[in-house]
């Protein structure tokens, strides 16, 4: 795999038809630099900065994990993990990664509510995470692992995703990228890398509630069936072991005989055909205009104020 675009994949990007499934967030920040204080230290940040820039510039009282924050290539802020909450004198508890820095604001990292929110939210992220670090290709270079260690998480309040029946099958279908959605924190970096940076329009956010997941705009079920060109950008930005480069998926696992990253889930979509190039069959088909749109169907529990439905417990 290479992080270069492959020259032989001569498919024009179609920005108009890209549907990442995410909301159009407003632009954030002011036009001018601002000076504020973080835990009593005065700091000046540049125009369009958010509070996280100020926090990163000083020695803070408490650690601020800011798990989903990514400050390169115009990716983010997605501001979804809420492990960056801080207290401000003017606006109460706010997410540092996406809250605009303004003159005179006083930011406190150690305030009770903010510290509690960071702590609980980190545990909530872990509650939905397959924490099998020993067989993970990102062991030792995982941002979630780092955050958990730095925050001295001993026993997450809500446990970890440990129910094999609830695991999504591993997508091992592509020759270049392996997807383990059980390790995805839905930070959306890969979606933005694929759509906004590479303009490939392969990945999207889909679903709702617990079914929210990274999927494919082409409605494909597997990476091999998607329109991926294997540029690898999504893998580069992924903070966890959810997207790993094939070939090194077991590079950092603890060598236990018979136990690998791939079989750690139990079920996997296997690679079905050896592809000749970085283009998936779907992408090749699309290049020759054979791509068909399929309809999305959905069923939801609807309506404003009538029965919640369900049959508790």
């Amino acid at each position: 795999m290479s992080s270069q675009r492959h020259e032989n994949t001569d498919v024009p990007p179609l920005t108009e038809s890209i549907a990442p499934g995410t909301a159009t967030d407003p632009p954030i920040g002011s036009d001018e630099p601002s000076t504020l204080t973080v835990d009593g230290t005065t700091v000046t940040v540049s125009a369009s900065a958010t509070l996280i820039d100020a926090i990163e510039a000083v020695e803070t009282e408490d650690t601020v994990p800011a798990l989903c924050h990514y400050d390169r290539q115009d990716i983010g802020p997605r501001s979804e993990c809420r492990t960056c909450m801080v207290e401000t004198d003017e606006h109460g508890v706010v997410p540092a990664c996406s809250f605009p820095a303004t003159d005179g604001l006083e930011v406190e990292t150690a305030a009770d509510d903010a510290a509690l929110a960071r702590d609980v939210n980190l545990d909530l992220v872990l509650s939905d995470h397959n924490l099998r670090c020993t067989t993970c290709g990102k062991n030792g270079r995982c941002e979630l692992q780092d955050a958990a260690i730095e925050n001295e998480v001993e026993e997450p309040r809500y446990g970890v995703l440990d129910d094999r029946d609830a695991y999504e099958p591993m997508d091992d279908s592509s020759s270049f990228i392996q997807i383990d959605r059980n390790k995805c924190i839905l930070c959306n970096r890969c979606v933005e890398a694929c759509n906004d940076v590479q303009v490939e329009g392969v990945l999207r956010m889909e679903g709702q509630g617990q079914d929210t997941r990274i999927g494919f705009q082409s409605e494909a079920e597997t990476m091999a069936d998607s329109t991926c060109v294997s540029c690898g950008h999504c893998v580069t930005v992924c903070p966890t072991g959810a997207l790993v480069e094939k070939g090194i998926e077991d590079a950092t696992t603890i060598p236990l005989p018979g136990f690998t990253q791939k079989n750690s889930i139990g079920e996997a979509y296997e690679q079905s055909e050896q592809t000749d190039g970085p283009m998936t069959p779907k992408k090749r088909a699309e290049a020759t205009n054979e791509h068909n749109d399929s309809e999305r169907s959905s069923s939801h529990r609807t309506d404003g104020e009538n029965d919640d439905g369900g049959s508790w417990p």
């Binding site: 909301a23 501001s79 509650s127 929210t212 508790w312």
Partner: protein, 490 residues
């Protein structure tokens, strides 16, 4: 407005959401004028046929096609008190002259005044009621300084409108969104008095210099009605589009409404700040208020500022009803409009994620409700003695876990863990501190009001029904509905 012209002239109004063809045919050929008016907010009495002759109107509830001809003929005969009520009124009244029957006289009728009386899409009816008068923008802005947004679909929910109007006033291009998604009251306004809503939106658009109005609803019939009214609107100051949205509950959230209007196939909340007042529809400063808010604005422009609240009572009642209650009156007032199916136990006050209370002697003013940890969404859901409160909030929590947009951790994962914590009670593990901690963090750190409010039913139910929670931890359901379903009825 259409009025009877002489004492012999008979005017028949058929009030219903969707009057049947048969009912209209039933009166065909009679010597009278028949008009269709929208719902009164009381589906229990509809189709409601009112027969006006001079200063007297006779009302017939739940009128069938067979009965209507007879009712019209008997308009003078007030002896038929079983189905009819008679009201003497100013012959030119533009406000529904509510009879003292069926709970129809509950509360006041300012915003709801035209419901069941004026023809929804006829501008002359609205004009006769004082509508379409030209008002100075300063007067509108000054009302926006007092008026608060109604409902969670309003970007200024419970807050004064004006602060969210300033960026639009300074911008070259701005939009107004009428968010009528989700609540019965908003749908009622669009269907029965669309001109009140459109007039409020026009007044706001003129005051801030907005060039377009978008009416957003998930209700097809209401969309058709408001669309027709918009086409008949004399001299609108901005273009009006009616856009249908998906019916999911969350699609009423102001930024999700914008996403739906812009055509996104997947509906999730936008980040804030800044909110839609700075960057809204297609990036322009946008006013997002509910139909209730705009109708209040229109009526305040015309009749002066006097706050009232639309309250829909639903749940364990024979038929739900929507009434208008002055802010100085209590929730109890609204209950006069319904028949409770059983013995009152509690109410969920303030919409889907409202607060649970046994106490209804509380003003419907937003500050009073907030102090009692109740919601101002406008819907009061009645729970009767045979219902289990733990199961009630369990279902709400599971709904929240299934229906959130999936964007942020405190809501997406928090609602799921909260449902787990509530299920754990059934296994004897009632961790009230843990539940309170989680609900607090959901409220503190969720992106939008969905996640902030999703824990309120649990928080308030734990306070009001502590013993029921403890009983469940002991394997007992006081309402007899949770354990051993098969034996509960024996």
């Amino acid at each position: 407005m259409i009025f009877p012209t002489s004492d012999e002239d008979v005017l028949v109004r058929i009030s219903d959401r969707n009057p049947s063809r048969e009912l209209l045919d039933g009166v065909a050929g009679a010597d009278c004028t028949v008009v269709e008016v929208g719902s009164t907010g009381f589906p229990a009495v509809e189709p409601l046929v009112s027969v006006t002759r001079g200063e007297r109107t006779t009302f017939h509830a739940q009128c069938s096609p067979e009965e209507i001809q007879e009712f019209v003929a008997l308009a003078d005969d007030s002896s038929r008190a079983d189905t009819a009520a008679v009201v003497e009124h100013d012959p030119e009244t533009t406000t529904f002259p509510a009879p003292e029957l069926f709970g129809l006289d509950t509360g006041v009728r300012r915003v709801l005044g035209g419901c069941g009386w004026r023809r929804p899409t006829h501008p002359d009816d609205h004009e006769a009621a004082g509508g379409f008068a030209s008002v100075a923008s300063e007067a509108v802005a000054s009302l926006a300084r007092q008026l608060r947004g109604r409902g969670w679909g309003d970007w200024r929910h419970d807050q004064r409108l004006i602060d969210a109007w300033r960026p639009a006033m300074e911008a070259d291009s701005a939009a107004v969104v009428v968010n009528a998604h989700g609540t019965t009251a908003d749908t009622l306004l669009l269907s029965s008095v669309p001109f009140e809503v459109l007039e409020g939106a026009n007044a706001a658009a003129r005051a801030v210099g907005a060039d377009r109005i978008v009416v957003y609803t998930a209700d097809n019939d209401a969309a058709l009605t408001v669309n027709e009214a918009a086409e008949n609107y004399p001299n609108p100051c901005a273009s009006v589009d009616v856009v249908g949205g998906p019916s999911e509950y969350r699609a009423a959230e102001p930024t999700m409404a914008l996403e739906a209007i812009e055509g996104n196939h997947r509906i999730e909340a936008r980040l804030r700040p800044p909110g839609p007042e700075v960057s809204g529809l297609h990036g322009d400063p946008t006013l997002v208020h509910t139909a209730r808010t705009f109708a209040q604005l229109a009526v305040a422009v015309r009749d002066g500022f006097a706050e009232s609240r639309l309250v829909t009572v639903t749940g364990d009642v024979a038929v739900p009803a929507t009434v208008e209650v002055p802010e100085s009156d209590t929730i109890e007032t609204a209950l006069d409009a319904v028949d409770i199916d059983g013995e009152f136990k509690a109410a969920c006050v303030g919409g889907r994620f409202g607060g649970i209370t046994t106490e209804l002697d509380i003003d419907v003013a937003p500050d009073t409700l907030a102090n009692a940890d109740l919601g101002t969404e406008g819907t009061v859901r009645i729970i009767t003695e045979d219902q289990c409160v733990v199961a009630f909030i369990g279902n709400k929590t599971q709904f929240a876990a299934d229906e959130n947009c999936g964007r942020c951790v405190p809501c997406r994962e928090g609602t799921t863990q909260l449902a787990n914590q509530l299920r754990a009670i059934y296994d004897g593990d009632y961790d009230s501190d843990g539940i309170e901690e989680l609900v607090r963090v959901m409220d503190l750190s969720s992106i939008c009001a969905f996640g902030k409010q999703a824990g309120r039913p649990t928080r308030t139910a734990m306070a009001a029904f502590e013993s029921e929670f403890a009983a469940h931890a002991d394997g007992r359901c006081p309402a007899g509905s949770c354990f051993d379903r098969n034996f509960a009825v024996s």
